[in-house]
Amino acid sequence: MRPEPPPSDPFELRPHRVHEAEGRGRRSFALFQALRHPGPLVWITPAHSPELPMLRGLPKGVGERLHLLRPSGETDLLWCVEEALRAVPVGLVIAEPEKPLSLTAGRRFQLAAEAGRTTGLLLIREGAGSNATETRWHCAPQASSSPDSTLHHWTLSKNKMGTSGFWTLNWNGASSAVDLVSEARQRHEPAETPR
């Protein structure tokens, strides 16, 4: 399969597929993506997870659309993800599975996302992803030199339909726009040879 031309916006998740994000800043990445997907949001976390999204801290417009599912077991969690992905009106499904995903589960999610025309984002632990994922992002917050900026370092470490890369950017946590600090990235594709 030929790689598709890279999208103009590097942070656009390919629609109707399931993606993964890991690292400390994965929840920021999920909220950033939530801003870019209109429609109801479903956030699935295990029931015993102490970390909750705080309504006042969420970007504008996200809190009202958010549905929080807190299933008690890993099987129920996976079932909820699949069910939510199959529902057509849902804009983005964000899930935090605890165990590494099997290839079967990953494939099932991709099929459900295609059937329901819904995009999914799994917030996984470091190295607990499945091979079936469309893209995998490593997100880390970064210390910034000026007091008004919140720097993030997002690395696209796996991409089925394109190239990988890394970006340091400034996202203020409120809008769907970002401020790229540097365009520098490693080049994986061969350089264009001058003719």
């Binding site: 400390r24 970390e51 504008k60 910034s144 919140t150």
Partner: protein, 398 residues
């Protein structure tokens, strides 16, 4: 209030009936005063002023000595009447009615007429609440899942017609399957919003029906809606398109039926400055999304968790600390923002007194929400090391 016309002779007269009623209620531990009169208004008045029995045709004498407040008129009217010297009902009966109505309104005359029997006021029992239950007895026991679903569809059609006729929607449905060997299986589903669409409800039952052991066969089915809510008919557009809201409600129903409706939540804003209580986790099936009133003030973290103590904190704000087995060095700190506990709630987490919140950007990257409880050690002369244990992390910023 009970209508006993034509009944007292069965109990040996009105007196015996009243004594019997009183004895029975006293056995149940209730002390009551009761009255029997020819009209509802007179019985009401007498029951509240001593009780007794007014014989037929002597209503005016029976309630005459009672105060006017016994007539079910409002306080202002009673007071105005007493100011002009009318205290008892007998005073009112003797007066001409037209000036009375002009001065105190038609309500007073109406109540007086009702008490004296000039105006009818029947004692009617409330109509029975409609019963939402249907059943089906089968000539031959069935065992196949498809047969049960087909039977369920017929029951649902009938139940939903009933619901439609009363403009109600089911919130909870119970299906009982009676087996030949007198064992009954029960399937109960909840719905994320009131509904009376047979096709969509049947889809939610499919999983429960799958798990039923049919044994020698099922011979009777019973479907009931123990919980219903008003659902007025909606105007639907052309074509039987299912709206996006319905699909989302179906998703919440099916998820809620599996993991429990108390685990399908929505975040609702609350008016509290305490971080833990600044939002509510409300079941999504029983709440509507509320827009967040724009909040101005200090920034809030995106994730919140129960306070976790940090160790090896030094200074205020700490220049370096350890949390979750990681070492952090403070790059920049914003604060403090002082939040005092709400004294009208006794929250065990806030017994340590007020908290000073700091937004701390670390050199390592994470931007954390730390707080210190200055009151716990204020009165005690503790060494600095012990004071450093008062720092907690409660949230993480974007």
């Amino acid at each position: 209030m009970a209508d006993i016309s034509g009944v007292p002779h069965l109990f040996g007269g009105e007196n015996a009936l009243r004594d019997d009623l009183k004895a029975r209620l006293e056995r149940a531990g209730l002390h009551v005063t009761s009255a029997i009169a020819g009209t509802r208004g007179a019985a009401h008045a007498l029951a509240r002023h001593g009780g007794g029995i007014i014989p037929d045709g002597r209503l005016a004498e029976g309630i005459g000595p009672l105060p006017i407040s016994a007539l079910r008129v409002d306080h202002d009217t009673t007071e105005a009447l007493s100011r002009v010297g009318l205290v008892r009902i007998a005073d009112l009966i003797a007066l001409p009615r037209a000036p009375l109505a002009r001065r105190f309104g038609p309500g007073l005359i109406l109540r007086l007429d009702q008490a004296l029997g000039a105006q009818s006021e029947p004692v009617a029992a409330e109509p029975d609440a409609p019963h939402f239950g249907v059943r089906m007895t089968l000539p031959e026991p069935i065992g196949l899942q498809a047969d049960v679903m087909a039977g369920l569809e017929r029951l649902l059609d009938r139940l939903c017609d009933k619901l439609f006729a009363t403009h109600r929607g089911a919130r909870r449905l119970r299906l009982e399957l009676h087996r030949v060997d007198h064992v009954a299986a029960q399937i109960e589903i909840g719905l994320a919003r009131p509904m009376r669409d047979p096709v969509r409800i049947a889809a939610l039952f499919a999983k429960g029906v799958e798990g039923v052991e049919s044994g020698f066969g099922i011979e009777a089915m019973r479907l009931s809606a123990p919980l219903t809510e008003p659902l007025p008919p909606e105007q639907i557009g052309d074509g039987p398109t299912v709206g996006h809201e319905d699909v989302l409600a179906d998703l919440l129903s099916s998820v809620g039926n599996r993991i429990g409706f108390d685990r399908v939540l929505r975040l609702l804003p609350a008016t509290s400055l305490i971080p833990e209580r600044s939002f509510l986790l409300a079941p999504a099936a029983y709440s509507e999304p509320e827009p967040l009133v724009h909040y101005s003030g200090a920034k809030r973290p995106i994730t919140l968790f129960p306070p976790e103590p940090v160790t090896a904190a030094s200074g205020t704000p700490p220049a370096s600390f350890r949390w979750r087995r990681m070492r952090f060095t403070t790059l920049r700190a914003a604060g403090p923002e002082r939040i005092t506990p709400e004294w009208w709630f006794d929250d065990p987490a806030w017994r340590s007194g007020l908290r000073d919140y700091w937004r701390i950007e670390t050199r390592e990257g994470p931007r954390l929400w730390l707080f210190v409880t200055p009151q716990t050690t204020a009165g005690l002369a503790l060494p600095a090391t012990a004071r450093a244990q008062n720092w907690y992390v409660q949230g993480e910023f974007a």
